[in-house]
Symmetry: C2
Subunit: 337 residues, 2 copies
DNA sequence: CTGTTAGCGCGTTCAT
DNA sequence: ATGAACGCGCTAACAG
């Protein structure tokens, strides 16, 4: 009773459609690809057969046949942060419009995992990819290019052949605001250093610390693991002995932890403690007091990234601007003076 | 200089590896699939060739050859809401562990779009899919099954052959809390009705209204388009003429809109106005006052969904519990009494 | 306008 | 243990 072949007779193929319609498979192929050189009559017959059988062409076979998978890869860190998922939304949205399916590759924040992810990205045979990953070095990104996969890189300023990049300018705007505070004579800055927050945030940190040194000021670094709860608890503790300061947090939910801890310790905001969030979201203005923060429309970043990618993939229309900048806008709200 | 052919000689195939290693492609295939019947020596030779050439098997060709794409489909509405992106995170995480790549199919909230998405889901040749989409009817979901795609459905109580389901119980817990408020003699309930919020929320609305009728109470429905800003503005207006009430919002960010509007209208919370959010997130406890809401660990829902799916896909280990329930937990906080 | 045939890159018998 | 040959489902010349 070796009838294994019979039990898996599921997927309808182009052959069966051809047979039912009484034509050759080439004709069916022409119909589904809208090649106009087909008689209206036979076309109808084919389409009817397709309907009756419920035939759907296999993207796998199509991909193999013309070495285009109509898939794009999206490499991002865990979407837990809302700015990442907003970006993701924008990317998938545009990809869909252009007829691409989005395959997501989540990277943990380790070199090792990044290598694995790159591996599967290449195997997966995507037509192109957009990469937003703080942990990846430019060399690793270049290695992907050895496989001729057009790339859009977000957050690295890179140039290359089938390579575009999007730059997120948070650092300068943030530094401008902090500099102003410092140069006004203040020397009360505390910087929240969250482990594994990524390269972008780290660079801001370094820039700030360097600037402070140059100006004979001091920045106190407060190190925490990621999570609102941890920071909130830590800051409650902190405010038992400290009664003021100018605090900088990577994201607004973390800024909220400071704000809440301060307020519940009887401190006034912004008179006693000021709080600044580097990456803001809609919660910056939902929270009370509203949080001063910097923002970039990440949905738009995602849209632009994929739109650039489709240009890269469409050999007929060369991408002109291969690098695009988004500059964070400062929204001064109620947690700073 | 018409050397176009040379410039597109990109992907390394199994043939080239075979040639370099001095074996046949069958042997290479055995090595990359870890079929043990290969001499250690030739195995080494092959592996070295693979290294030198930087060969990566094409998932496309592999998929075609054994009709398994090692891709799973994930159908979800826009990830804008954090509970959706948390779920997504959980799904992708587990998929990765099991060696699957995740293809995301975003659905807008219309029947038409849903049909298109289903179409591309089938074409994409995924091995299985998990569907979380309020707008889809059970009949449409069944139609996917005609293509023998194992499915996990979240939010619908369905049974079927290669079909598992996860039920999200928000309705009963929410109704319990509201009933208690009503039965305590109150008749001051306002329900925020956000357009396109999805079936799950709609069902709670209907349940609530029915219950009110049966008990001779009244529920005032406040209709808004989605967005914090719109609701906030609308409620500011509302509170010029209304000075109290028990408000129910679909999500905590919307609840925050009510809370903020009320507070800024000089009303006390929860003495004058009480606010309850149906779907809570971490912001329920980040916001001040903290918002009373219901919660399910959506990351876990996502994990469980994909784990169930992998069981469905693994023919050797049949899935025993084909339906799984998550019951929302009520977190009474500061916006209700 | 339509059918035939040769790949696309890889897995898998069936021999050797 | 290893190689030759066929098939997965479809596209793209090439004939007719």
């Amino acid at each position: 009773m070796e009838n294994k072949k019979i039990m898996r007779k599921d997927r309808v193929t182009i052959y069966e459609v051809a047979k039912v319609a009484g034509v050759s498979l080439a004709t069916v192929s022409r119909v589904i690809n809208h090649h106009d050189n087909v008689t209206e009559k036979t076309k109808q017959a084919v389409e009817e057969a397709i309907q009756r059988l419920g035939y759907k062409p296999s993207a796998l076979a199509q991909g193999l046949a013309n070495s285009r998978s109509t898939n794009i890869g999206i490499m991002i860190p865990s979407t837990g942060y809302s700015y990442v998922s907003n970006m993701l939304d924008g990317m998938i949205d545009v990809a869909k419009i252009y007829g691409y399916i989005s395959s997501i590759f989540i990277t943990k924040r380790t070199k090792e995992d990044a290598a694995n992810v790159i591996e599967s990205l290449i195997k997966s045979h995507v037509d192109g990819a957009v990469i937003f990953d703080d942990e990846l070095g430019t060399d690793e990104i270049r290695s992907i290019q050895n496989y001729h996969i057009p790339l859009i890189v977000i957050g690295h300023d890179m140039q290359g052949d089938a390579l575009g990049s999007i730059i997120l300018e948070y650092k300068d705007p943030v530094m401008d605001v902090v500099k102003e505070h410092m140069l006004a004579g203040n020397d009360d800055i505390y910087l929240l250093d969250i482990v594994n927050e990524g390269k972008m945030i780290d660079e801001i940190k370094e820039g700030l610390i360097d600037f402070a040194k140059e100006n004979n000021k001091h920045i106190e670094v407060l190190k925490f693991n990621d999570s609102y709860g941890l920071v909130y608890a830590g800051m409650k503790d902190f405010f038992r002995t400290h009664k003021s300061g100018y605090f900088i947090a990577p994201r607004d939910s973390l800024a909220a932890a400071i704000v809440n801890a301060a307020a519940e310790s009887g401190l006034r905001i912004p008179e006693d403690v000021q709080v600044l969030a580097e990456i803001g979201s809609k919660y910056s203005y939902i929270l009370r007091p509203q949080i001063s923060s910097f923002s970039i429309d990440m949905f738009r970043v995602g849209s632009v990234a994929v739109r650039m990618l489709t240009k890269l993939l469409d050999t007929t229309s060369p991408l002109k601007d291969k690098t695009f900048k988004f500059r964070a806008k400062f929204n001064k709200r109620s947690t700073t003076e």
